[in-house]
Amino acid sequence: MVYTQKHPALLIMGILMVALGLLVQFGMMTEVIKYLKIDKSINEMTTLTYIFGSIAIIVGLFHLFGKHREGHLDYYLSTVAGATFILFIAMVIKWFIDPYVAVLSKSFGPIMGDKYLHEVFGLNYVVLGILAGIIIVNVFGIPKWAENGVRLSRLGLKTGVILLGTLYSLAELQQLGGLSVIMIGFFVLGSAGLVLWMGARRNIPNSMGGVLAAGIGVCGVSATVAAAPVVQAKSVEIAYTIGTILLWGVVCMFLFPMIGKMFDLGPVQFGAWAGTGILNSAQVAGAALAYQPDGIETLKVAEIFNITRVLILPIIVLWLAVWYVKREENAPGVNLIRVMFEKFPIFVLGFILMFALSSTGVFSPAAHDHGKYFDNNLPVEKLLKEEEVNLIQSELNTVQRELHKVTLGRLLENKKIMSLDDDDQIRGLVNSGVLSKPVNEILKKAHNSVFRTAPKIDMFRKWITWLFAFGLVGLGMQITLASIKQAGGQPLIIGGTVGTLKAVLSLVVVLLFVRETI
């Protein structure tokens, strides 16, 4: 079979990308850039459009005029059109639609405290990208020439998680790992057990109970896909479960950031809550990025929870297999080694490898200047101004923790952050949301004045953001209303009950026990 389609779409997208790059580079979009306040993206807008636009033009010309024969080259090159399609949508949303929504939202004024409409509803490039994907697939359908490449979105997300490995310190990984094992362990086992218990009470078949327990308990559609063959789920049971999880996932992706903002959760708290309470793993990443689109701290926390879930998945599938075999006479035997081997998420090894490499300092060599904590010759404009000092002092009483008070005292005395430890405390204080927005802005400025990220790490951050944007737009294109409409029956009742309980209880646990600093 020849996969490549002779279609001009890829070539047109390539030309549009390069044209956009040229318009930006030669200042023909200055007014638009000023209006949308996207000056920070100018560099990206020229480099990314030139790189991917050129690739699209070259491959697009080959698609249109080349001779295509069955084989690996044909298959891999056929994916470029779909991948470019997703990337092009992600670019348009990230550079134009997202900033325009922000401008529009700000024109209405704050609607909840000092938060604007788009902040409350988490309407940023991630959510808008997923929405765009959902609208495209359900209203227009995926074009034939793009079908093959759209599947690459999964690869984008997995690569994003692998690169994310470079951003953790050992202490972060230890503490987040420990927290996630406790929370995921409790809530996964608890919700899976509760589904099985409710299922038995409501007389649903064991196969339905098994597949639903995996889906609701562990990581949504991924767990359903992994568990369905093991518990011999019927087709209608699979459809019910996946429909319920997709419906729940899409709703949660919008609700969680809103509720998180209402409770003023910090990145660690929100990441932990989303990573535990949202049933479907794709929407965990979506909600984390929706909550903090301009930073990556929430995503870092949420993805550790996602990784913990996926590591638990083979164990849960195995448990369900044994549970099912014990209850069904005609159940097939379980090959423990095969289940463990097949379900083990290989991309997590990539994550661990990148973390290990990062720990050796290969991405941030010893010569790299980590910060200017000891530099007493900072330019005056980088130091705190008198009115900023006064503003911070006016809110000192709202700070409860003694360590935060001492750190703020040192900052006020020196008008700059004096050590890495102080910097950690200040970031924790900002993330906790205790102080007002203007004070938090001053503290962020103080952090930026002394902190410097290694260039390679900074590059990884940008790549990760793009990979997730790419992956989530593509995943949005795989959420069809026809699948969501299958939600119903007992799975909707049981899934709705257990899902709500899990979301509420995990929020309570996060509010009570999870602190902002790691």
Binding site: V225, A226, A228, S235, I238, A239, I242, P345, L475, S483
Partner: protein
Amino acid sequence: MYVPSDNTHCTNILLASHGTTGACAAEQVALNLQRDRPLKLHHLIVVPDFWKDMLGDDWLNNAITQIRFGHYVESQLEREIQQTIQRVNTAAESRQIPYSFDVMLGKPTQCLLQLAHAGRFDLVVIGSPRPKTYPGLNSHLEVETLQRALPVPLLIIPFPQTDDHHPATFSTTTVDAVT
């Protein structure tokens, strides 16, 4: 009861059924039409195309798990189709009704219309949509579209009378024809 308007020897019936309660009722009525005149029964089973997207937004699993899931769903659907074909075929054989079938992947309404236009049928028989409280897939025939576009009369069989504690029962006296 519906009586075809032409004088051909056999009535060619196109039955759309996929094993649900409503569809089973349609099967019974289609087979019972033999009482009035000889029949040929062509059975259409549609696999709804939403199954193509049932991998949803899974991104965590390895390819082998996704492939295994795809094979499993396919084999499940095939088993269910074979059971339906077997059941209708057995019932048709016992009444000496010539039986044939088609399995199509797509939207049920479009598949039925495509087949109805392609073949030479005298009557299309379908079941009624299930009541909302009744379990089943959310994929049904759009009666209005069929009414407008079918080239032959359409017979819609009412959903069998049910109560909470007993399996569905079907009364042959409640047949309704739409032409």
